[in-house]
């Protein structure tokens, strides 16, 4: 179990101090695939580097199974880094070493006998699907293959935690899928805890069971992926889940109705022609301004932003109708645009 307690990190720059992390509290359970998502500059990279003390937190502590990593000696910390390993956005393979030598690298550091290290490295290259690339240099591999070698290297010392720092950000969507599938498979097979740092929603949706949303160095929302993504509370989460809403380029209301956000929690409601039946049953012709559905952990989730024309009467009827539909949550939306300007 990894616990971050009141973690803060302040950098002193030429322009004065910058708070990269601000009182972060998180708990990652064993076997979790834990996503930490945020826009660039949110402090994700600093956060992940605090977990293995590549960055020393200014305040607070990192506990690995109750052990305070900040209190360890340099030597002890080196040992912890064999239990908590890391993969990177730019793969960071040794370009002058073969794939086999790259995977053996962490084992050489702890003076593992050569034959043993080589056997382990070959086994790992097998695991990541590159048994035939042992004597090939990284420059001859594609990005996805290089990341596979990096994953094999990160697993060499049989770590309990794998930190992934934007590990798929440099890869195309198809390769990203296959790398995520590999990470999930390793998580299933070995029970390794994975912490995934990313700015890509799709990555979290694909493999994480829990997620924390980081904004300006602080955790603004945290919980099960399905929960957080189906009912985003914090503005930063909404911006990530429904970017079209936050960007200001979203649907524009006609300004003569009330906006409602319908949130679907389960695949059944998606199949039901809710809007059409509301039109027939209540005589309310809702205007659909935007909609999006996503698959999160094999369940269908989505939202729809609709506009109910007319006055408070129609709104009350519409609300009542929708509230009677199971697995749909309805929220009355604040007006985004147009309305206030029109009234003023």
């Amino acid at each position: 179990m990894i616990e971050l307690r009141n973690l803060s990190k302040r950098f002193v720059t030429a322009d004065g101090p910058v708070d990269a992390l601000n009182n972060v509290n998180l708990t990652v359970n064993d076997g979790d695939i834990y996503g930490i998502i945020g826009m660039s500059g949110a402090g994700k990279s600093t956060l992940v580097r605090c977990i293995n003390m590549l960055e020393r937190p200014t305040e607070g502590s990192v506990l690995l199974d109750g052990r305070d990593l900040g209190a360890l000696s340099k030597k002890q910390m080196q040992d912890v880094r064999r239990e908590v390993t890391m993969i990177f956005q730019s793969f960071n393979l040794l370009m002058q070493s073969t794939c086999l030598q790259n995977v053996m690298f962490p084992l050489k550091l702890i003076h593992t006998p050569r034959a043993e290290a080589e056997a382990r490295a070959r086994e790992l290259l097998e695991t990541v699907g590159l048994p035939d690339k042992a004597n090939v240099y990284p420059a001859q591999l594609s990005g996805g293959q290089q990341q596979r070698v990096a994953i094999a290297r990160a697993l060499a010392t049989k770590p309990r935690v794998l930190l992934c720092d934007e590990a798929t950000s440099a890869l195309d969507p198809k390769t990203t899928q296959s790398i995520l599938e590999l990470i999930r498979q390793i998580n299933r097979d070995t029970g390794i805890t994975v912490i995934v740092i990313t700015h890509q929603m799709s990555v979290v949706q694909e493999i994480c069971n829990r997620v924390a949303i980081l904004e300006n160095g602080a955790v603004v929302e945290e919980g099960d992926v399905s929960q957080v993504f189906s009912r985003p509370r914090a503005a930063a989460t909404r911006a990530l889940v429904f970017p079209e809403m936050a960007s200001g380029e979203g649907p524009v209301s006609t300004g003569y109705g009330q906006l409602l956000r319908l949130i679907f929690e389960g695949s059944i409601t998606i199949d039901k022609p809710l809007i059409a039946s509301m039109a027939m049953d209540c005589g309310i012709a809702a205007n659909i301004l935007g909609a999006s559905t996503r698959t999160v952990g094999k369940r269908e989730y989505g939202y729809m932003l609709i506009e109910i024309p007319g006055g408070p009467d129609e709104l009350a009827r519409a609300l009542k109708y929708i509230q009677n539909v199971p697995d749909v949550v309805v929220q009355v939306e604040a007006q985004y645009n147009g309305r206030e300007a029109d009234e003023a």
């Binding site: 293995n52 590549l54 910390m77 080196q78 040992d79 912890v80 880094r81 064999r82 390993t85 890391m86 990177f88 730019s90 960071n92 040794l94 370009m95 002058q96 070493s97 690298f105 962490p106 050489k108 550091l109 702890i110 240099y137 420059a139 001859q140 290297r153 010392t157 930190l163």
Partner: protein
């Protein structure tokens, strides 16, 4: 001008050819071994110093006290800025203390090393600084010690760049040997000065220059090829 032209008359050329056959083999040999030995010692001193410049830096993997780094940098800059001709004279006491004399090919190695090792240290520094900092971070994240980062990551990853820079060092030192030849050292430089400058035998001078140029070409192309062969980033 007339005297210059006379230096290339048939009998002078014949005489130069004679010098070429009798004295050049020995001179070439002296130049080569002085160059190679001086380069070797310059690397032995300059490589650790170059590593220190990078790792001991404020942002390096093992920062050293700033005043210490400042002193090291000042000494290197001082040695680099003294003209080689003057440096040779300045280190005569050191040469005598080490070799026993300040005259001859072996003695000329001392000033060559003193002049070249700060240069090599700067070359090593620039080679190591080219390295992607992400690679260093990777090594740290895997629990490497400082020594392991230096010997298992920084140096092996920089081999092609180091070979290229050592080639530059060797050709520069070769140039210096010609100068030290004029100041009591041996080799092709001595032959060129003795015949060409002191006795107006320009034909000999030009022959010596041609041989030196060819020597630089040989060192350079061997170094370039070696660096390319060693670089595993190049797809074959």
């Amino acid at each position: 001008m007339s005297q210059f032209a006379k230096a290339f008359e048939p009998d002078k050329l014949q005489e130069a050819w004679h010098v070429f056959l009798t004295e050049f083999p020995q001179g070439l040999w002296e130049t080569v071994y002085v160059t190679l030995l001086a380069t070797l010692f310059a690397i032995l001193l300059g490589l650790p110093l170059g590593i220190l410049l990078v790792t001991g830096d404020e942002k390096g993997i093992r920062p050293l006290p700033k005043p210490l780094m400042k002193v090291v940098n000042v000494i290197i800059n001082f040695l680099r800025s003294v003209p080689f001709l003057i440096l040779m004279v300045m280190v005569i006491p050191l040469t005598r203390a080490i070799v026993g004399t300040s005259i001859g090919s072996v003695a000329s190695i001392v000033p060559l090393v003193v002049a070249a090792f700060p240069f090599v240290a700067r070359l090593v520094e620039s080679s190591l600084r080219e390295l992607d900092p992400n690679i260093i971070e990777m090594a740290q994240s895997m629990g490497s010690s400082t020594a392991q980062i230096i010997f298992r990551v920084m140096l092996p990853e920089s081999v092609p760049s180091l070979v290229t820079n050592f080639t530059l060092a060797i050709t520069t030192i070769l140039g210096y040997t010609a100068m030290s030849g004029a100041m009591g050292g041996g080799g092709l430089g001595k032959i060129a000065i003795n015949y060409g400058y002191s006795r107006y035998k320009y034909a000999v001078l030009y022959l010596a220059v041609i041989v030196l140029v060819l020597l630089v070409q040989v060192f350079q192309s061997v170094g370039t090829r070696l660096a390319a062969r060693l670089d595993k980033r190049i797809k074959k």
